[in-house]
């Protein structure tokens, strides 16, 4: 089943969680790392996205901890989330492969 493309921050959040359960701050830093500091999520955007992804059943709470008297909640991908990330990654891969191939042809024509 083909799905409509998801936004980049959502894709990066799902990608961050593909490495294993992470807490909010961990997701933020991992997203910045994955994107080479190009995408820097802030708390408002992150927790709006986490709430939506949880409501859609793509992520779930893995466990909760209290560190320095602060709640730390770890999130994990659900099977539905894994499927979405898989679909999106495959779609992007196909598009990228076509783009690279055509760029090579273009470069060959120019030289």
């Amino acid at each position: 089943m083909s799905r409509s493309p998801i936004q980049e921050p959502t894709f990066l959040i799902l990608t961050a969680l593909a490495a294993g359960p992470q807490h909010g701050y961990g997701i933020m830093t991992d997203v910045a790392h994955i994107s080479g500091d190009r995408v820097k999520l802030r708390a408002g955007t992150l927790y709006a996205a986490l709430d939506r992804l949880r409501a859609e059943g793509n992520i779930d709470v893995d466990r909760e901890e209290v560190v320095d008297s602060r709640l730390r909640r770890y999130y994990k991908l659900t099977p539905a989330g894994i499927e979405i990330l898989n679909d999106q990654a495959a779609r992007m891969q196909v598009n990228a492969r076509v783009a690279v191939s055509r760029l090579k042809t273009l470069a060959a024509g120019l030289s």
Binding site: A43, G44, Y47, D51, R70
Partner: protein, 330 residues
């Protein structure tokens, strides 16, 4: 001390998010916000404020759209979806009558040369507005209702713009009028999509509230027409009464959870009233004989009176906590 104050400020900012979201994620978000800030930071950064506001609004809209929003907000949107077309029609008719009455003694030749086209567009707009109102409660499917009402609203806005161009009705207010109608139309469509639908709005308004609404609409149209007589004493009485009723209406409506939210919704297209009319009302009272100040103030009256009295009508119809509102039908 700085950290405690910063935390307190972050907590206040989180009010952008729905209460349910804050209950689930609030503590966690505070932890993340504090962890991502610097030690010397005394207050939230502009970018953080904008991000929290945007995230909160997105979450609220999504919850409304998916039916998981606060039921009071959804009910307020349902009432708004019914009332907005009434106000559109009231605004159109009131402004039309007032301007025609004012123009006739001075430009009668011009008036009568264009009266046919003006009358026609007014009749079309009126028919469309009434048809939209009649259709809305009959339709139970939200999508169809939104389409029907959107067509009605767009047609009404087009008719108003036609009036402006053909007859210079609302002359000098073109930009404000267009903006007002555009915001009202956009909010109407949002209300139709995000609420349980106009059927629920009608249900909440009840027959008594609707009769009051109809009476208010007629009264406002008559009051605007009377304003053209330039009987300053009489017009000032109307101004005073509308001011008193506005304050009373707001005070009473705030007692009802749906009513208070309806007022917040109404403040968005009605910012002209909220922001300017109150100040201009005071200004006019100080400069009693100033024609310029008077005209600026009075053109907000139809919107102001209808908008605020709607709240009063709803309260009066028996909903503000005196009896339990019926459950949503859909």
């Amino acid at each position: 001390m700085t950290a405690a104050r910063l935390e307190q400020r972050y907590r206040r900012l989180l009010a952008w998010f729905p209460a349910e979201h804050r209950r689930v994620y609030g503590e966690e978000m505070i932890g993340v916000l504090l962890a991502s800030g610097s030690d010397s930071q005394g207050r939230p950064r502009i970018a953080e404020i904008a991000d929290i506001a945007a995230g909160g609004l997105r979450t609220r809209l999504r919850r409304l759209r998916t039916g998981n929003g606060n039921p009071h907000w959804r009910d307020a949107l349902a009432v708004f979806s019914v009332v907005a077309p009434i106000v559109l029609f009231g605004w159109l008719a009131a402004g039309y009558l007032a301007e025609v009455e004012r123009a006739v003694p001075y430009h009668y030749q011009e008036v009568f040369s264009r009266v046919d086209a003006t009358l026609l567009t007014t009749l079309i707009a009126t028919a469309v507005a009434i048809a939209a109102l009649a259709i809305c409660p009959a339709l139970t499917r939200r999508g169809l209702t939104a389409i029907a009402a959107s067509i009605g609203i767009v047609a009404t806005v087009c008719a108003v713009i036609g009036l402006v161009q053909a007859f210079r009705v609302f002359a000098g207010q073109d930009d404000e009028l267009t903006l007002y109608l555009s915001v009202l139309a956009a909010m109407e469509i949002l209300a139709l999509v995000a609420s349980p639908g106009p059927a629920r709005g009608w249900q909440l308004l009840s027959r008594r509230g609707l009769i009051v609404l109809a009476a208010i609409s007629v009264a406002v149209i008559v009051a605007s027409a009377v304003s053209a007589t330039r009987n300053w004493d009489f017009v000032n009485v109307i101004s005073d009464v509308s001011g008193i009723v506005s304050v009373l209406g707001v005070a009473l409506t705030l007692r009802w959870p749906v009513g208070s939210r309806l007022l917040v919704l109404w403040a968005i297209p009605g910012y002209q009233f909220i922001g300017f009319a109150a100040a201009q009302y005071l200004f006019t009272r100080l400069q009693y004989s100033s024609w310029a100040a008077f005209t600026v103030e009075f053109r907000y009256l139809p919107t102001a009176v209808v908008a605020v009295l709607v709240g009063l009508a709803i309260w009066w119809s028996g909903h503000p906590g005196r009896r339990r509102a019926p459950e949503p039908s859909g």
